[in-house]
């Protein structure tokens, strides 16, 4: 392999949802964590099933299986904490996955115009062609947040 070819390799995390595998750029993954208690409270954002507590942070859990494989997953083994961008701001979002995750290096083929919005690109691995997910497109929330709407992540309690 030449140096130029090596430079084009990127790191991806392969995740499994049911029978299918997907990839997320490794630089958009914060952590892989074991399932923990999901806290639920009333809201109207249907893709969000609740929140988990992780290292003192409250992280929304977004079940993307229905959108990606057409059905909800009943068994889950891990949460992939992905970085979701809102304009210049970022937040963690927990994606439930059903199998082991794998870190690989691969070349990315950019998505074509005809691809669905959630497809950031494609990669080839172990004989499979795998979708690279656009985390911002598969999780709910505004795509841009103006400076006037920026709120700090942690608000001070009032004395």
């Amino acid at each position: 392999m030449t140096v130029s070819a090596e430079l084009e390799l990127q790191s991806f995390v392969l995740l499994r949802l049911g029978e299918r595998r997907f990839a997320v750029p490794a630089n958009q993954i914060a952590e892989l964590v074991a399932p923990s208690r999901v806290f639920k409270f009333p809201h109207h954002t249907t893709q969000i099933e609740g929140v988990i507590l992780r290292r003192g942070r409250i992280v929304p859990v977004c079940d993307v299986a229905e959108m990606l494989i057409g059905k909800k997953i009943m068994s889950r083994r891990l949460y992939l904490l992905a970085v979701r961008h809102y304009g210049a701001q970022t937040e963690w979002v927990a994606l439930p996955v059903t199998g082991e995750c794998e870190l690989i290096n691969s070349e990315m083929t950019p998505a074509a115009e005809s691809d669905a919005p959630h497809v950031a690109g494609w990669l080839s691995h172990a004989g499979d062609v795998i979708e690279i997910l656009n985390v911002d497109a598969i999780t709910p929330g505004p795509s841009e947040i103006g400076a006037e709407h920026e709120v700090p992540d942690v608000l001070e309690a009032r004395p």
């Binding site: 009333p42 929140v51 942690v154």
Partner: protein, 177 residues
């Protein structure tokens, strides 16, 4: 050479909150936002039925001097099954009296996390943020989030004429259903 004294960590600011229950769900509200807590029975004597189209969560209004307090069913506001409600929180600086099932506890929170941006519907008006109390995540409600200016305009338009406002409802209780 003088060695600077180590900076003392600032004491954590805390906020007194009331953790309350509606249909088995826990919520919190700043104690400072609650002007008074009454039993719903004690409120019923002064309540008058009101029917604002499209606003099922408000069925009763209470007149206090020249002010009207709208009794909001917390259960219907949050899309939970209807609940009779045992207590009423009169929320300061609002025209809302919130019907809840009960108080869980009074405690203090030291950290309020903004509602994650993934939550992108009405809940952004409902909640100031989320807090963790005893390893449980609880949403902290926004006192102004129960009735929007549009809701208040609808309710003002639906207010019964003054001469009919003295009557008590037939059952003599405040009901959320």
């Amino acid at each position: 050479m003088r060695v600077a004294a180590p900076a003392k960590p600032a004491p954590a600011r805390s906020e007194q909150i009331i953790v309350f229950r509606i249909c088995g769900e826990q919520f919190a509200v700043s104690s400072a936002s609650v002007q008074e807590v009454r039993s719903s029975d004690s409120f019923s004597g002064a309540s008058t039925a009101i029917n604002a189209p499209g606003l099922r969560k408000v069925r009763y209004v209470v007149r206090r001097g020249d002010r009207s307090l709208f009794i909001v069913s917390g259960a219907l506001h949050f899309g939970l099954p209807p609940s009779a409600g045992a207590l009423v929180f009169v929320l300061r600086k609002t025209r809302t009296a919130l019907l809840v099932d009960g108080i869980e506890k009074m405690t203090a929170m030291t950290r309020l996390q903004a509602l994650p941006k993934s939550f992108c519907h009405e809940e952004r008006q409902w909640y100031r943020g989320l807090t963790a109390i005893d390893q449980t995540v609880i949403p902290v409600v926004h006192p102004e989030g129960f009735l929007s200016p549009e809701d208040l305009a609808l309710l003002d338009a639906a207010m019964p004429p003054l001469e009919n406002r003295d009557g008590e409802d037939a059952e003599g209780t405040v009901s959320a259903a």
